[in-house]
Amino acid sequence: MRLTLHVWRQSGPSDPGRFMRYDVTDVSPDMSFLEMLDVLNQQLLSRQESPIAFDHDCREGICGACGMVINGRPHGPRHATTTCQLHMRMFPDGAELWLEPWRARAFPVVKDLVVDRSAFDRLIAAGGFITARTGSAPEANNTLVPKRDADLAMDAAACIGCGACVAACPNASAMLFVAAKVSHLGLLPQGQPERGARVVNMVDQMDAEGFGACTNHGECMAACPKEISIDFIARLNRDYLTATLAPKPPVKEFTGAA
């Protein structure tokens, strides 16, 4: 296979960046998308040109490190598939592809296709957890969890934190990411005590990070490689409303350390 790539090259946050054209030959249909980029990078290095920077690690679709916009779609054309699991057999011979980083104010570009997603970590730190000090846990089977609830919590917990939802959203909102965590923990009995505080703190943090608001486009769900449903956004909105309309709004406080 032959391909024409237009790759976003940007040396750092202050560089305005530009597309550069690369012709790639001898692409095998059995290659993964990242293996195709590996081959190109080896060629660039052998010509003493600078290789294309992109994040990747597990290459099994679970670590969430990889991700780029391919012809306008985060993670490319295949439904429910991360960039690393996308294979070249999905593209016709001679295809012309435009590769860009996630574009969002809250995800500044580090270099080329690499962005800084630490805002997601700060969202989790703001409330995306259940406070369960090591050593304090009760016997696991003391709390029964209906299979239906456990399964639905698992559907939400499957989020890999890649950021495709943000990249796909016209508002660069992180609603699907936050909703997935709020729902995962809020569906379980263990997550009830902090349910109100969690949703309020995470939504506040989302605003502080510069993510946009949700206006129900549904692009996030279409781009999500783990098929996280926007039903969870409805669940987040309900939880947020319940928490903020409650007689005493939850006080922002950290109960982290001992």
Partner: protein
Amino acid sequence: MMELRSRAPEGPLAEKWEHHRSAIKLVSPTNKLKHHIIVVGSGLAGASAAASLAELGYTVSCFCFQDSPRRAHSIAAQGGINAAKNYQNDGDSVHRLFYDTIKGGDFRSREANVYRLAETSAQIIDQCTAQGVPFAREYGGLLANRSFGGVQVARTFYARGQTGQQLLLGAYQALERQVGAGKVTMHPRAEMLDLVVVEGRARGIVVRDLVTGAVASHVGDAVVLATGGYSNVYYLSTNAKGCNVTAIWRAHRRGAAFANPCFTQIHPTCIPQTGPHQSKLTLMSESLRNDGRIWVPKKKGDARPPQQIPEAERDYYLERLYPSYGNLVPRDVASRRAKDVCDEGRGVGPGGYGVYLDFADAIARLGRHVIAERYGNLFEMYERITAENPFDVPMRIYPAPHYTMGGLWVDYNLMTTVDGLYAIGEANFSDHGANRLGASALMQGLADGYFILPYTIGDYLAQAKLGKLGTDHTAFKQVEREVSERVDRLLTARGRRTPDVFHRELGRLMWDKCGMSRTAKGLEEARKKILELRDEFARDVYVGGRGEDFNQTLEHAGRVADFFELAELMCRDALDREESCGCHFREEFQTPEGEAKRDDARFSYVAAWEYAGAGKAPVLHKEALAFEAVHLTQRSYA
């Protein structure tokens, strides 16, 4: 002179840990605040340790090379986590889990550590459930279990095929809670490039900021390495691309003994290679062996599609050779038998290095929906990679490097031979002997991080009487200089071959000579060739770009350089161990049936290697393994 003191407590096996925990020194709550602990790595072991230490009141700094601690490779573990809960009432117990683990490891692990692991297992499930890990449940709301290779009870807890992900997110969330509370400072995209030892004690690390390239020191009262395994020495493995040996190798060079480096696990169920572009191998969870049947054609070179090969012309070789365990034999056995049938010319798929894992019978027996519920996400992943649907045609699988039982030598407190330096999770050698059983890695990582290290580290800190140090101390300045020089050397070589080219060549060599099957001759050849390659690397590598930049080729080059040194030690260790045990299979030492033949009289020890300086032969120290509670037997799964 290095001394190996296991510090395994006296007394009956079942009382050792309880007794030890009550006897070791404690650090008072006010003093905990004053101690700064450095944790390198944020996988199951690192994240759980960093979170638990911070909850206890210590000040913690945690480092990872990924952009977020949530991406550590523990996330990719699929199958599950063992615990001796006996929820299935099938006769499981702490002793049984202990025995299965020590037998699975072919009697090459330390009894006291393994027992403690089994003892701690139940608590891990409680802890993770309390954090909101969505384990699979039965309709009545109780936790569900399944069985795994090498055992005859169902003690494995799981969250679909994403158990590692869910356990890691639990630990990551606990960690982020402490970040939010200001108790942990997280340093993502930071790679530890060296350890700083002052007056015989680990006092800090030197890291390179992977975004700016800046090299900087961090001072601590103790350093915990939770940096995972080194399967990527083979280039192609199931590990993430970034997994590397650098942190523990640099610690080894600073005085930490490296134990059993040749004990590397080759996992039987991975997707076969497709071509020279292959960048990694993908694991298909071992849980698939619960319902899938492994077979190859009886006839050599039988190229018919699998559906056209009649039942009578198939060889279900594991069921034939091991009637009581069948497809659930331990990983080392399943891998070697797959290699045997492929070497005989009966392998399937392009290149002939694959065997079938067939679900047709299970689908007929249980229905498609049951199989879909159990393995749906794995089947989808297989289909995405191979363009074949396992509901219609059998999967093709082949063994691949997956896990390294070897690692830094640690005592019962998980401390290495350098005072104040700890190694936890896959980075240490302690619990799996010569072969790890399925669903035990997650158990060990979390046992070390949540329930063992947080206690044992206090024993050292309470007694160490550490003085105040700054990064301006000469020892730190010296190590920083050495790190910068190493980085510069890689950048200034300006040769013709990329680090990737060298890494692939090293990997192929190790796979051929120090992989599933080893001989004295092959290992000697490999050692020689490694040294040649290493010299070529130093002269002829091309990295390009600058050090003060985000430079992924430079990161890779540094890791490959350390893999070269490790590879040589692996071959030396494999050569020295003139027996076969678990995953270490020396062709010269086998039973008439082709099983691993141990030599307990000569090799019932842990081989702990001391670094003796560049170009000098490392010194072997032996920790004799004494077994009080188990009787050493030849493993039999027939």
